[in-house]
Amino acid sequence: MASELKLSHTSAMILKAIDSGHVYGFGVMEVTGLPSGTVYPAMRRLERDSLIRSRWEKQAIADAEQRPPRKYYTLTTSGRATLEASQKRYPLLANLIPANAGEKA
């Protein structure tokens, strides 16, 4: 049923960005060029619809690097299926978002 969910171009772009390895809010903002006021509410919506899930980075890792922990987002199974459906709808999506393996959580 989730794969039938029709996403807006913005939501699809954010989903694609997360799938490409831009796993926190600012990373998604940077790669999509969207402002914070669009990206964060969109991610909340995607999380509410169970297309993505969030988890906090382990405190020990953040402490070791002397920085606050970040909240990471990953695609769920239904999110992946929805993204595949969206890529058929928006074929240029893959070209818009470059992969970022380094940021994969």
Partner: protein, 438 residues
């Protein structure tokens, strides 16, 4: 303010909108993101980034599954009174921001014996006194006659005429709103200004006009007075202090006096104490409010509430709640009407019309709210259910049933009054039902 403090304050402000259960997590995420962006900004405007937090918080606020929090808060009698108090303070605050209302409200700071004088008139003394629509009504000749015949009743008298006059400023000739006044004016108002030399006009400016037209240059300006010190009728940029003989003879102006005794005896003039102006506003609203309360009480008598009367502590609580609502609504009507009545730039008789209309609306709301509350816990009754059909009113009861969320009882409000069901009927469920309610 330090930018980091500003950004953190923005996030904290936005967090107020976030539902309490998610607030700590939400704030931690935004703070963390801000920390990382500050270290490696990539050309991002941090303030714009933090502004986005408000949209995010607003989305969460709207998406909160907790239903209708405003009506939930209005259900509680305490919060209802808090809302009314806040609205009253807001109306007063708005009034203090509006120059015309501010003048009226701050007039109470003048000494009790300072009065404005107007020629006696047969009409409404409040209007004749120029209270609602202050207008210049005394000619210089009348002022001089007053001074000669009744001067012994005053310790000081001043006359001023508002006029638009060209004044040479460093930026060229500008037309300023000036009050051409006799030199006693500032002495009466207890504003320290150098004494004028006979025959030499003196220019005194408000601080804002001095900065605006003279760029702070003291040349040609005798004194500068704070804008807040002038609370008399007529908006002015400054004052031209002249001898009375130099003022135009036919143009009408305002007369300010300081009474020697408590009242003015055998005078051709009406007077209004400047300190009484705010109380006059309140005094004008009070009779209207009492009248509308009485009118609604008579209109609704016998059609409602008959079976909702409660005795003892509960009845007392109910009466106190009603009294508190009336006391809190009264300043809202008074200050709100004053705010609306001064839309044109001065407090006009429109104030009275707005106050009358506001009194009716407020009374209507007070009674409707009181009737819609549980007589036991004073919370708003909820879950209205329509029962019956209007076409079968002779066969069965037709109206709305409301329920107290705490299980105290049910209120039956008939849609159409019938011979056998004309009144609201309160069904007290008693404590045996309390187990069914949370």
């Amino acid at each position: 303010m330090n930018p980091a403090t500003l950004h953190f304050a923005m996030l904290r402000s936005a967090a107020i909108l976030v539902p309490a259960a998610q607030r700590a997590d939400w704030l931690a995420e935004w703070r963390s993101e801000l920390w990382h962006i500050r270290r490696d900004p990539h050309g991002v405007n941090l303030t714009a980034f933090c502004m986005g937090a408000f949209r995010d918080a607003l989305w969460l606020w709207r998406d909160d599954p907790c239903p209708d929090r405003f009506s939930l808060s209005a259900e509680s009698p305490g919060l209802c009174l808090a809302w009314l108090a806040a609205l009253g303070v807001a109306c007063l605050g708005l009034g203090l921001l509006l120059p015309a209302v501010r003048i009226v409200l701050l007039s109470s700071l003048y000494p009790r014996n300072l009065v404005m004088l107007n020629p006696a008139w047969d009409g409404d003394p409040a209007i004749a006194d120029g209270f609602f629509a202050p207008y210049p009504s005394v000619a210089r000749k009348s002022f001089e006659s007053l001074k000669a015949t009744e001067g012994n009743q005053f310790t000081g008298l001043a006359f001023y005429v508002p006029a638009n006059l060209p004044v040479a400023t460093p930026g060229g000739k500008r037309t300023l709103h000036l009050a051409r006044t006799t030199p006693e004016l500032f002495h009466l108002l207890n504003i320290p200004v150098p004494r004028a030399r006979a025959g030499t006009p003196m220019l005194v400016l408000t601080r804002s006009a001095w900065h605006k037209y003279f760029q702070g240059d003291r040349q040609d300006v005798t004194a500068v007075v704070s804008d807040d010190l002038w609370r008399l009728p007529a908006r002015v940029d400054g004052w031209l202090l002249e001898d009375a003989s130099a003022l135009p003879a036919s143009t009408k102006g305002f007369v300010l006096g300081r009474l020697r005794f408590d009242t003015l005896r055998n005078s051709q003039f009406h007077y209004i104490r400047l300190a009484d102006r705010p109380y006059c506003c309140y005094g004008a609203v009070l009779p209207m409010f009492v009248f509308s309360c009485a009118l609604f009480a008579v209109m609704t008598f016998g059609s409602s509430g008959g079976d909702m009367r409660t005795m003892g502590a509960t009845g007392l609580r109910r009466a106190l709640f009603l009294a508190a609502k009336i006391l809190l609504v009264l300043p809202i009507v008074a200050f709100g009407a004053l705010d609306l009545g001064s839309v044109g730039g001065s407090v006009t008789p429109l104030y009275l019309d707005v106050a009358l209309f506001g009194s009716f609306l407020a009374t209507r709301w007070i009674i409707a709210d009181q009737r819609g509350r549980c007589p036991v816990c004073l919370r708003l009754l909820a879950h209205p259910v329509r029962i019956g059909e209007s076409s079968r009113i002779l066969l069965e009861w037709h109206g709305t049933e409301l329920m107290c969320d705490r299980g105290h009882g049910l209120l039956y409000v008939p849609e159409w009054p019938a011979i056998w069901s004309g009144r609201n009927r309160w069904l007290d469920l008693g404590s045996s039902w309390s187990g069914l309610f949370h």
